[in-house]
């Protein structure tokens, strides 16, 4: 008996989207932009229900027990995927760089955490570095400036990738601000534990943003974006603030972070 060989379409990678607690609660449009970008690049994207937060608030407050419990949940929920993709450098850094450290001394869980962490990527670097995406189909006629969020930049080396994709957006002009790689003062719980120091840092950042002349501020982390947007709004600035994924996906019909005007 001869076997008829049919060319099968090669299935794209199966990606679990870890949407992050801030996107889930404040800005679901970032999650939908992430889905569109990955599906356009040929991925099958799924959203496990058993996800909450990456655990950073506990981890960075010294509460390892809760951080570990949350990490176990996350690992269980995402173990079966080819990749775990996160629209945040900070949360991706937590999943990729810090989860294994939470299980030091527990051989079984350390192995599981290491295998899990190796599959975790921040969204934009996943598109560029893993899927070799070189351009996006979006068209957004705006002058934008891009802020490098700290964890993405220093833990995961994200800097070139978002800029490369932004340059492929039709009509978009990318203006570099001064000190784009300097912290915005968010720092998770830092911004509410030390509000006046955080304020001094973000005020310097918004000075740089306004001086750039860009109409729109982009970054890859919602925490930093909410901090900078909140400060810009308080200062009465007309600069609009969005997550970089929204622009790359061409999904800019929703109001910007913190609203218009």
């Amino acid at each position: 008996m001869t076997q008829l060989e049919l060319p099968l379409p090669e299935p794209g990678p199966r990606v679990g989207l870890f949407v992050t607690c801030l996107v889930d609660l404040f800005r679901p449009s970032v999650g939908f932009a992430a889905i569109r970008l990955m599906e356009d690049a040929g991925c099958t994207v799924e959203v496990p229900r058993a996800q909450t937060c990456c655990g950073q608030p506990a981890y960075n407050s010294g509460d390892r027990a809760d951080a570990r419990a949350i990490a176990e949940n996350t690992i269980r929920a995402f173990e079966g995927f080819d990749y775990v993709v996160v629209p945040s450098g900070s949360c991706a850094g937590m999943l990729r760089k810090h989860y294994p450290a939470l299980f030091a001394g527990d051989a079984e869980w350390q192995g599981r955490a290491a295998a899990f962490s190796a599959k975790v990527f921040e969204l934009v670097s996943f598109l560029v570095d893993v899927l070799a995406v070189e351009s996006v189909a979006a068209s957004v006629g705006e002058a934008v400036t891009y802020h490098d969020s700290c964890s993405g930049l220093r833990e995961l080396g994200i800097s070139r990738q978002p800029r490369a994709l932004l340059r492929s957006v039709e009509g978009l002009e990318l203006i570099e601000m001064q000190d784009a790689d300097v912290c915005c003062g968010f720092g998770g719980t830092f911004c509410v534990k030390y509000p006046d120091i955080s304020n001094a840092i973000v005020a310097r950042k918004t000075d740089s943003i306004r001086a750039s002349g860009a109409r729109t501020l982009l970054a890859g982390d919602l925490g930093c974006l909410m901090n900078m947007a909140g400060k810009l709004k308080r200062e009465g600035s007309s600069v609009e603030v969005r997550h970089v994924a929204e622009v790359l996906a061409g999904m800019v019909d929703t109001p910007p972070i913190g609203g218009r005007g």
Binding site: L25, S61, D63, C150, Y194, I197
Partner: protein, 473 residues
Amino acid sequence: MQITSPAFKRNAHAALGDAELQKALGNVRSGFIDKRLKAVEALPEFDRLRDSARAIKNHALDNLDLYLEAYEEKVRDAGGHVHWAETAADARRIVLDICRAAGAKTVTKGKSMITEEIALNGFLEENGIRPVETDLGEYIIQLRGEHPSHIIAPAVHLTKDQVEADFRRVHGHLPADRDLSEHEALLYEARRVLRPAYFDADVGITGANFLVAETGTSIIVTNEGNGDLTQILPKVHVVVASIEKIVPTLEDAAQILRVLARSATGQEMSVYTTLSTGPRRPGDPDGPEQYHVVLIDNGRSAMLGTEFQDMLRCIRCGACMNHCPVYHAVGGHAYGWVYPGPMGAVLTPSLIGVDKGGHLPNASTFCGRCESVCPMKIPLPKMMRHWREREFERGLNPAVQRSGLKLWAFFARRPRLYGAVTGLVAPLLSAFGRRKGRFTKLPLAGGWTEFRDLPAPQGRTFMQQVARDRRAR
């Protein structure tokens, strides 16, 4: 010195409102960072040198007892004396005894953070001995009765105008029309006053950037030459150094020197790199008659073998604070003890206790810039997190913070419950904030809304919206 680290928040608040300080801090943001970057970019092997420097220090720390003993023997062979001080009080007493034996009335001092740590100046003064700081920055803050706000630029919190005013106040001989508007003029004026002190001094005290086990040599790096005059002219030279300054060989010291000045000031080398081994030998044209080394532990050995051992690699270049957004905002005095910035945030709790220094490792955004520029690749944010863990274990953080965290974690550990609660909260908040898209005030969010608006949620949570989607799992 008085510890005000527990009042970090109050210190920081005052610093943020101090216009003159804020003006002075602008120099940290602009000067150091660019200079370091240029020096690093001009040396392609810089990053490999960092690895090499780290390996040298790690090896020295893993064999600290061995190298300290070897060092001690070499110092004795060269005719010097080695004194072991377990605590700051021991160290102060040893230095005082040496000064008394020399009949000292005046001692000159090279720049040294360890003598700040053991609060030497005040102690000498109480005992009738006049310490004279000879580094320009140290001299300025001594005039003002202050402490260093930066480990390599002690007076960086001051503007030129403030220094001019201090000189006019203290140097009574200055004619009113004397031009002190340039940095150089201030430097020459300080030198003119300091020259006689070098000759009056009976004892010269310096710190050490390195102690070399192979040869019994101590090394200091300076830019003003004051260290050389301090250690060569008086009849007694006292080196005050903490035990982790040890490196095995001169070659090792030379390796680390290549990253030190580049990281600190962007210089390839400091202007003076001065090696001293024992007292004056027969036939030497100059040098002290006596050479003493006071080796201080003061909490270091307790850090060995713990998660804080890596901190002992620190070579005090100051790059971490030069690149720290929190240091840029509040300056060094806000940290409330000797060591500010990220290195202080790790070292201070080790030396004075986390119950007093607990704010310091918390007052960080974990932006990671300090670690990225540290020539010794010390994982500063990681160690600050370790301090937060110790605090949490001991229940030292504020009760409101702990209960807030516990409440949040209770939900975050239970995805179904979490989804139900966020599914109620998000649409509600969204409805309230819909008109403007943000809140200028919100109950329980005062820490946020005091200085910035809080963007409102878009509507239903993402998980609610994808619940019936084919993609939900």
